[in-house]
């Protein structure tokens, strides 16, 4: 079958662009309730799968590819929904309500949902295109990386964020020799505070990972047509068979921006998932949404993708739904299970609590005297209790006393001061 520009494009009443958690959540939210046709265009070749386990259970071998599937094949064979794999949308004509793909295939829509996610940030290193240099965003990326991190492999991870550290942990577990190179003066600088970062660093060091802080990478060395190592900013060379570049992601918003959608740090949406273009919604990692204080933020999180996907589906169905954010995050590294509630940013005070379990550390972040986030490392009770104290005033003496449960650390609101 061929498709030419003259053919009338296939039409979907709702066309979802993307194949990740947000895209699937919209499709699942519409399934069985929405009368019209739903199309999902995914750039990837795999059926939609869970992304968080890629660098956790999948890389460590505890979870296989089949277990990653977000929905069974039968979900995508149901009447009314069509999943089209290998379709990367490269242009949107918002006025004509038509998208076109990398192969020039066009689809028209009644309503468009942009859930294209994010792409690994590329920092223009020389040698970044050599075999042996990896990035980790998709299942295909991760499968390739997994094949190369066996015993004796020398792995250099550029970037000490969650993805880089989870990959470092899996690599050292697989028997590889691992170095992490981080440009900032500590690990995890974008996502958590200094106490947790140092705790994580100590545990990685104890597991045999080498960590270089305040270290930049100027290029990847070519050894016989493959990655042979990296050159650091101070001139040192780190030999490597495998180089992972994991320095963050950028939202996949440029196609929608070219179509005229208002974009800043991602596609700007309102609390119901609407973009500035008519009949175009967006959800997930690619979006930038309004916060209570009138600013905007973008979140790289599963919870955000799922809840925004829910809101968009409900809005399309004509139900009243708005998005409110209490994000949670988790990461498994070496022998640490790190769980976070809230956003670790803008805090002016931190309280540290050390429980009895090995590797246990909890940090409570306060802004203006109220809890804005909690990091709980190997501390499930504190993670659970964190949801009770979020937004509340707490007594520092009780918070830092591990014999008191965190949920019992409330400080009574002072009477007579009104709504503080």
């Amino acid at each position: 079958m061929t498709s030419s520009a003259e053919d009338a494009p296939a039409r979907f009443d709702v066309l979802i662009v993307g194949g990740g958690h947000a895209a699937v959540q919209v499709a699942a939210g519409l399934a069985g309730k929405y009368e019209g046709s739903v199309g999902v265009l995914s750039a990837e070749l795999h059926h939609p799968y869970q992304r968080p386990p890629l660098t956790k259970g999948y890389l460590s071998g505890e979870v296989d590819e089949h277990e990653l599937l977000l929905r069974p094949a039968s979900f995508w064979e149901a009447p009314g929904v069509s999943l089209l794999l290998g379709h990367r949308v490269t242009a949107v004509d918002a006025e004509a309500h038509v998208v076109s793909t990398q192969h020039g295939v066009r689809y028209s829509y009644g309503t468009l949902v942009w859930a294209a996610g994010a792409e690994p940030l590329r920092i223009g290193l020389t040698g970044a295109d050599l075999p042996g240099v990896h990035e980790l965003r998709t299942l295909a990326d991760t499968a390739q990386f997994k094949r190369e991190i066996g015993p004796g492999a020398r792995v250099v991870v550029i970037g000490g964020g969650y993805v880089g550290l989870e990959a470092a942990s899996a690599s050292v577990h697989a028997g590889a020799e691992v170095s992490v190179v981080e440009a900032q003066s500590r690990l995890l600088s974008r996502v958590t505070g200094a106490d947790v970062a140092e705790h994580v660093r100590q545990h990685h060091l104890a597991s045999g990972v080498t960590i270089e802080l305040d270290a930049t990478v100027v290029g990847v060395m070519d050894r016989g047509g493959r990655a042979g190592g990296v050159v650091l900013g101070d001139g040192r060379e780190l030999a490597a068979d495998v180089v992972l570049i994991s320095v963050g992601i950028r939202p996949a918003s440029s196609v929608l921006a070219d179509a005229g959608a208002r974009c800043s740090n991602g596609v700007e949406i309102d609390l119901r998932g609407r973009t500035s273009l008519p009949d175009v919604y967006a959800a997930g990692d690619c979006t930038c949404f309004p916060t209570e204080d009138g600013a905007r933020m973008r979140l790289e999180s599963l919870q955000n993708a799922v809840e925004q996907g829910d809101v968009v589906a409900q809005t399309i169905l004509g139900e009243e739904a708005t998005y409110s954010v209490v994000p949670y995050f988790w990461s498994n590294q070496v022998n640490l299970k790190i769980k976070t509630i809230g956003l670790v940013s803008g805090h002016d005070e931190t309280l540290v609590r050390r429980g009895p379990a090995p590797g246990s550390l909890t940090v409570v972040y306060l802004r203006g005297g109220r809890v804005c986030a909690v990091d709980a490392v190997n501390a499930m009770k504190d993670y659970v209790d964190a949801r009770h104290v979020l937004g509340a005033r707490v007594d520092p003496n009780l918070v830092t006393d591990p014999t008191t449960r965190l949920r019992d650390a409330f400080r009574p609101e002072v009477a007579g001061h009104g709504a503080a």
């Binding site: 968080p52 386990p53 929905r71 599963l302 919870q303 299970k337 499930m380 993670y383 659970v384 949801r387």
Partner: protein, 100 residues
Amino acid sequence: MTKITFRLPAEDRIVSGEPGESIMQVAVQANIPGIVGECGGDMSCATCHVYCEDQSGFKRISADEEDLLELADAVRDTSRLSCQLKLTQSTAEVTVEVPQ
């Protein structure tokens, strides 16, 4: 293969699962309402709560699972997170009740 009966408010749904799969995974794949499994089984969300009377085919509840169950509604003695109920060869059938 294990025959799993999901007891829902309006009906029973019977689905089969393979050894190594968790009841949460089977439920999500079968679109069982009320079992979300948002975090994929990494014990971060408590959205796969079920009641399971006969737990003899499963590992006993861990301290972490017990703690995380506090986030679920209407917890009973038989409450489990279904992501922690892993099927084995030896379990021929099991019944779980989906809360609410």
